[in-house]
Symmetry: C2
Amino acid sequence: MTRYYSEHSKVWVSVDCIVFGFDQDKLKLLIGRRQMDPGRGEWSLYGGFVGPDESLDEAANRVLLNLTGLKKLYMRQVGAFGEIDRDPGERVISVAYCALINVKDYDEHLLEEHGLQWVNLTELPKLYSDHNNMVSCAMKLLKQRIKTEPLSVNLLPDLFTLTQLQHVYEAILGDEVDKRNFRKRIKHMDFIEKTDLIDKTTSKRGAALYRYNKRAYKGVTP
Amino acid sequence: MTRYYSEHSKVWVSVDCIVFGFDQDKLKLLIGRRQMDPGRGEWSLYGGFVGPDESLDEAANRVLLNLTGLKKLYMRQVGAFGEIDRDPGERVISVAYCALINVKDYDEHLLEEHGLQWVNLTELPKLYSDHNNMVSCAMKLLKQRIKTEPLSVNLLPDLFTLTQLQHVYEAILGDEVDKRNFRKRIKHMDFIEKTDLIDKTTSKRGAALYRYNKRAYKGVTP
DNA sequence: CCAAAAGTGTTCCGTCTACACCCATGG
DNA sequence: CCATGGGTGTAGACGGAACACTTTTGG
């Protein structure tokens, strides 16, 4: 089995998932209390070791499926983190992935089952190991990508109002956006289409519901 | 030693270096014939395994130092590549790094010593494993970053003419750039400063030499 | 009838783009 | 004196930013 590279040493490789959600006009992060040593009880991203028979992407998908019950999430690699002492226990290299999900899709009882919480990104506690660093790298990516990719729809239900969509932009960019300019920009995006449906829950007048049309998206997928 | 994670399996982790150079108005890549099995003799990026006592960045720096004799190169992580069968020999996860160097700084006899060649990026052969894929990921990054970072100066000598600089942009973007607009843009960049020196080797009239002023660079360093 | 959110256009300014000619000089 | 690469300015297009009022209706 060890035919070629046996003189070199192996290391543990893990994946850590940065799961962003959106609720109450805020960006949230899914974190939990670490359930193993070392660092048991510390706030931490959810992760897992990469097995011998799965690729990095597969490992990340497995962890995310386990965590959310959802397949086919929006998921992107953030990067590899390999400082020698990043993990207090052993030498572990970790590849961070970020995922975007709609908090409402998230099965509430999974929170308890895994001891997880949605926390506001602005109120993030100190996390285990270098996880805070991973989160800020992921945020940088997000801010860049939201300009070119229709990321935002991954954080919303299938049908959403333009006001909701605007709140997602504002939460990611950390800045206010002009409503009229925003709506003008959205009009030019073919992959966000108006439906005939109206949402009456948030206002007396009612707001038009929009939908993401994946097929119409002709963007770069880097 | 194996205190915490012993029930999980380890994998080999390597770093692969995508070394870009610039010469004769073309972007070049440093590749060599692979000197070990499997794949001995195939064109390949230069890489190495990550040792137990070095971080990923340290491993990449070690490989690059070994390869170029140069420290303090411009170097950035491209990403982790972890398909299960990406390496024909064994399961190896590789983290790709890209570096930019000035071909003229490169010690020619290292080429022979390592069996390396500078090849035009446009004439890249099939490389070992998924190295072609790594190269195209690195190119994408480069194209993005050249818009916000003064990457280009890493590919040139300490003193350079604006025409040379323009050729670097053109090579990276793969497109022609208008000379007047380009020079206008450069004027606004404080970190590229004119010197009193004149280069007479490329034209009869002579061209002003410019220099990169690192201290004046107040950009994002992501 | 009024509070609360939805919806809608215009103007201005800065940035990017297209474009063509003169300059200096070595050979 | 001429071929070669170096160097310069202006006008129009385009996109982003600032900005305020009307509409609808549940309570």
